[in-house]
């Protein structure tokens, strides 16, 4: 069967990129946010929840309004010579926006589980807030953060409504697998729809299984009372 496989590659590229961006932004935001409280942060939390609560089409509409040539950010980009709408980058932006709340909330939960005394101890030992985030908070919250990454990836893979509105449905450029599935159904080609659905399922399950395996590997080093030295003479952090 001669099927155009471009949605597969586009989806993979998009989902991986979006997950990477979401991971960095989500962990940084969650790290900064944990343990602090102010009106501004509460406002931020409310904004972050929006893509989770609103229908994705609305999210897409908002992105379109911002980045279209008539929109505030769109005008700035237009003068700089870039158009985001209908570009591949738009698929990444749409996927990132909808995946971010999942990563952020999960990471924040993971950070807030850590005994704050550990952070205080690190501060008395001269660590900067950045060093505490990278050296103490992230390693201890790692299983939770990974769960957030898995969630974000799954969401990015399955993103449809915002992508369609903001990145359009352009085969070879922005037609992701969920979009391909939708239009296959619309055209009455259920066979193709099922094929794509199967591929999405296999990939998502594969990634989740990998994450799960990694978490179990990690957890061994964080469990209290584990016996045995890690690896020969040098200590493997991890």
């Amino acid at each position: 069967m001669n099927m155009d496989l471009s949605p597969l590659w586009i989806s993979l590229k998009t989902a991986l990129s979006a997950t990477a961006v979401t991971f960095v932004l989500g962990v940084l935001a969650a790290g900064w946010r944990s343990g602090r409280s102010s009106r501004l942060w509460e406002l931020f939390d409310g904004l972050v929840l929006l893509p989770l609560v609103l229908p994705p089409t609305v999210v897409g509409f908002v992105l379109l309004s911002l980045f279209g040539r008539t929109g505030p950010l769109g005008q700035i980009l237009w003068r700089a010579g870039t158009i985001l709408v209908f570009s591949w980058s738009a698929t990444v932006i749409a996927a990132t926006v909808v995946a971010f709340p999942l990563m952020y909330l999960t990471a924040r939960g993971a950070f807030e589980q850590i005994d704050p005394g550990l952070f205080d101890a690190a501060r008395t030992l001269g660590a900067t807030e950045w060093e505490i985030l990278v050296g103490v908070a992230i390693p201890l919250a790692w299983p939770g953060i990974l769960a957030g990454v898995a969630l974000a990836f799954a969401r990015a893979m399955g993103e449809f409504g915002a992508t369609l509105m903001f990145a359009g449905n352009i085969p070879g450029r922005t037609e992701t697998m969920p979009v391909a599935i939708y239009f296959a159904i619309a055209a009455g080609d259920t066979r193709q729809a099922l094929l794509w659905s199967g591929i999405v399922l296999v990939i998502s399950l594969g990634v989740l299984a990998a994450m799960d395996g990694w978490t179990r590997y990690q957890r061994r080093y964080l469990a209290r009372g584990t016996r045995g030295v890690v690896r020969g003479g040098s200590v493997a952090r991890g």
């Binding site: 961006v21 008539t70 060093e131 619309a186 493997a236 991890g238």
Partner: protein, 267 residues
Amino acid sequence: MHIPMRIPSHRLAALLPGVLCLATFSASHLQARVPQEPVQITVSAAASLNDALIEIDREFQRARPDVRVDLNSGASGTLEIQIEKGAPVDVFVSAGLQQMDALAAKGLLLAETRVDLLRNELVLIISRGSKNVANFSDLDHPDVRIVAIGDPRTVPAGMYAQQVLTALGIYATVRKKAVLATDVRQVLADVETGSADAGLVYATDAATSSQVRVVAAAPAGTHEAIVYPAAALRDAPHPDAARAYVQFLRSASARMIFSRYGFLPAT
């Protein structure tokens, strides 16, 4: 001795795919607006025309090898919004006049390029197995419990359905037992599975499903002409290529391809 602050190497490895993707992403972006040969135009077209346009684009490519066509398929309403918000579209082919008129009112069209391209018919469908509906006025009957139509506000086929039913005087009754779909595919699915006793779709849509039966076509004069307009856009990134494309859509070879998919020429 390992210093606790550095990120361990296997975590860095995990970030690698993300970093590569970010690199690709930024690289592909820097080329956004630099004009290159060949010229690349974006055509936003109603989803129902997708298969036909893919073939037509291949023909167009042969005729004009210097122009590359990116086909953006979607619901006419969504496509209209994208254009209004400044998406970089060269040509718009809509499944209904409403969306095109809205753009015209906002002055977003190259008015002289606007043309009524195709026409369609509204038909009444029932699932293969059922028998009790023979024409539009049967929809009034209490035995017909659920009728599927597109949402008249957003789906062109739904708007025309409303017109037909109003002309026949049965809109109020049918509306009470109507399930409104966001697109034609949903209407087809509802009728195919028997969730709806009958549905109203375009003739071309009905042709895509083997599990529904067309029992009647909308009587003449009960609705506005179902027309698929096409136009090049005022803010088209490549107006000359856009014009050429619209012209090509009216050509004999394009017409032949359209008719194979059940779309009749408008004139």
